[in-house]
């Protein structure tokens, strides 16, 4: 496929935005400015970026814990996201939800759960809304190879399939559920795509170090969904570069393999493509990196000015 320079630049910018969001999280966490735990999605940005490049106005999104920065390209305000992650009242949930709940309803994000898998059907419900409204929108749901073994995901898939709901199930297979490799936990090589047949859904697998390849695979499935063909599964093959949480040394796996995957990094790969194809010069790439980074830093500074929530704030969103 031939793409315009603007299209490729936009995809690259989105990819970079998530990368820097994920890096900033790690930095803030290391500096003790984030409570709880974070789950860095560094190295996994091309999966969500490629898939979300197929989105349009009116679509719904249920993202997952990795990369949580997916919200950046959907349009959740950066400052609000950082305020939420820092536990401040300026966050979307007044700092009560935290890193697993940075979201923006106005942009179609339906929220997500830290108990992985039990929110899959929420995306099916969003798909039901689309079907009731008779539009050609799509409800996107992201999950991982770990979650692919959870029952609620399978109930959600089956229901979406029998009702022919417009849902794209995206399995970001980063090969590890904390320390457990996908090769151990699933009896099939493709824990996302191979299960699709059980529900009569089409599926594809794609190399998710290549953001354009992810876009193309997603587009084929999304076109079918928008045409009314019902749900589908896309499995994005990737690798979790960092530990499950910050501080996890990942001693349970071969560090040499990790190093090999780092060489295939999705951001570096896209940058090489842009330069090789004459879309951007190295200088333009540097300038864009600086620009995106500056946006992140400005948002962090603004979020940092947001006060801590008060005990009264605890009750503000409990009941309408």
């Amino acid at each position: 496929m031939q793409y315009t320079a603007d299209f490729l630049k936009k995809v690259y910018r989105d990819l970079l935005s998530i990368r820097f969001f994920e890096e900033k999280q790690v930095e803030l966490y290391a500096a003790g400015r984030i409570p709880g735990h974070i789950h860095s999605g560094i190295g996994e940005e091309a999966g969500v970026t490629g898939v979300l490049t197929t989105r349009k106005e009116g679509d719904f999104f249920k993202i997952s814990h990795r990369p949580v920065g997916a919200g950046v390209i959907i349009g959740a305000p950066l400052e609000t996201m950082f305020a939420e992650i820092m536990g401040r009242v300026g966050g979307n949930a007044l700092g009560m939800g935290g890193v697993l709940h940075m979201t923006c309803r106005e942009k179609g994000m339906i929220g997500f759960s830290g108990t992985l898998g039990c929110d899959a059907a929420a995306a099916v419900g969003a798909g039901l809304t689309i079907q009731m409204n008779e539009t050609d929108n799509v409800s996107y749901v992201f999950y991982g190879d770990g979650t692919s073994n959870r029952g609620p995901l399978h109930e959600a898939m089956n229901l979406a399939a029998i009702w022919k709901l417009p849902v794209l199930f995206v399995c970001n297979n980063n090969q590890f559920a904390i320390s457990t490799p996908s090769s151990y936990s699933s009896a099939v090589p493709n824990p996302g795509a191979d299960r699709a047949a059980a529900y009569g859904m089409p599926s594809k697998t794609v190399d998710a170090t290549d953001v354009v390849a992810v876009y193309e695979a997603a587009k084929e499935l999304v076109d079918g969904i928008r045409a009314g063909n019902g749900p589908a599964v896309l499995e994005c093959k990737m690798y979790r570069v960092r530990g499950h949480f910050e501080g996890d040394q990942a001693k349970y796996r071969d560090a040499a393999v990790t190093e090999e995957w780092k060489k295939k990094d999705c951001v570096l790969k896209m940058e090489k493509k842009l330069v090789d194809e004459g879309v951007m010069t190295a200088e333009e790439i540097e300038a864009l990196r600086a620009e995106v980074l500056a946006e992140m830093e400005a948002a962090i500074d603004a979020a940092d000015k947001s006060p801590e929530p008060t005990p009264e704030d605890l009750y503000r969103n409990l009941y309408v």
């Binding site: 309803r105 106005e106 929420a122 099916v124 029998i162 969103n317």
Partner: protein, 326 residues
């Protein structure tokens, strides 16, 4: 007009669906079959297959789908058939539905109702007889409604459907065929407001669901002995209407809680603790609890009756309470 509790539930659902086309219903066997108790009979014909949908046996997906539809603009009424099956979707109700708005922000309203049929029903056994309110009282953010009369069932279900909060609506199976006076036309009953089912002066009896009827039977027996009990039906278990109960206790200075589920960690456990914290100076004795024995519900009918409180058990507890404070 006179109607049964089941007819009242059905009328609330039908009238609300006629009023607002954003209301959709789904659950196991609710379409052609019209729900295993017959609540939604005729709904498929009246509202069509888009709004009335059968689901597979997939409780987690039923609850999760309701959540997703609610957060994106519809007002789903999800049905879980037996209240016991809320356990299958416990994570979805406890972690997701109850906390979704708290965790995500003010925009995340969940106008959804989870309906279920609870309680003993003559030999339904250990997995089809549970009353589940107390299990969910531990989930701030969730509203729990448990009506005892046809009029309350209709008015509260309408309020539940119109509410922007997620609601667990517990219908009692043994009450389905009981009749009562129901107001004509469209009316609602406010959520979070208890009802004094029978005024009295000696002991405040707080009873839930089927136990309201049994407490009223006990009141008749006790009246003949010159004992007057005030029977309060909280109707909404959470948020709980403390003030109506406090007002009664300021008059009677005695309180007994009657429920159909196991005594340990039940509704009575919470209310007794709350009352001793907040009403200690008004109480002339310990708060009493009348509840099911701490065993799973037996299948044997004689033993089922033995396990669940009846009017005599309630009357006995009232007499003991008064004797103690003499």
């Amino acid at each position: 007009m006179q109607m049964t509790y089941l007819q009242a539930v059905a009328a609330a659902l039908r009238e609300e669906m006629q009023r607002d086309d954003k209301i959709i219903m789904f659950g196991e066997d609710i379409a052609e079959f019209g729900n295993i108790f017959g609540v939604t009979r005729g709904f498929l014909e009246e509202f069509g297959p888009k709004r009335i949908r059968n689901t597979p046996i997939s409780e987690t997906a039923i609850v999760g789908t309701a959540l997703g539809a609610a957060v994106t603009g519809f007002r789903p009424v999800a049905e879980l058939m037996y209240a016991d099956f809320t356990m299958v979707a416990f994570t979805e109700i406890f972690h997701c539905v109850s906390k979704w708005r708290f965790m995500h922000g003010a925009d995340y309203k969940l106008p959804m109702v989870i309906r279920c049929a609870m309680g003993s029903s003559f030999g339904a056994g250990s997995e089809h007889s549970n009353c589940v309110e107390s299990l969910f009282m531990h989930a701030p953010g969730l509203t729990i409604i448990s009506p005892s009369t046809p009029a309350d069932a209709k008015g509260l279900l309408k309020s539940a459907i119109r509410s922007d909060n997620p609601i667990l609506f517990c219908e009692h199976k043994q009450l389905y065929q009981t009749k009562g006076e129901v107001p004509e036309g469209d009316y609602t009953i406010p959520i979070g407001v208890a009802d004094v089912k029978r005024p009295g002066k000696d002991v405040t009896v707080i009873a839930v669901g089927l136990m309201v009827r049994r407490a009223l039977e006990a009141a008749e027996k006790l009246e003949k002995e010159g004992i007057s009990i005030e029977v309060i039906d909280p109707r909404t278990i959470a948020p709980f209407d403390k003030e109506t109960v406090f007002e009664s206790i300021r008059k009677t200075h005695h309180a007994i809680i009657v429920e159909e589920s196991n005594k340990t960690a039940g509704i009575g456990a919470e209310l007794a603790a709350m009352l001793q914290e907040e009403m200690y100076d008004e109480l002339d004795g310990p708060v009493g609890r009348v509840a099911a024995l701490d065993v799973p519900m037996p299948y044997n009918i004689t033993l089922e009756k033995h396990v669940i409180p009846d009017a005599d058990d309630i009357a006995k507890a009232v007499r003991a309470q008064l004797a103690r404070s003499l």
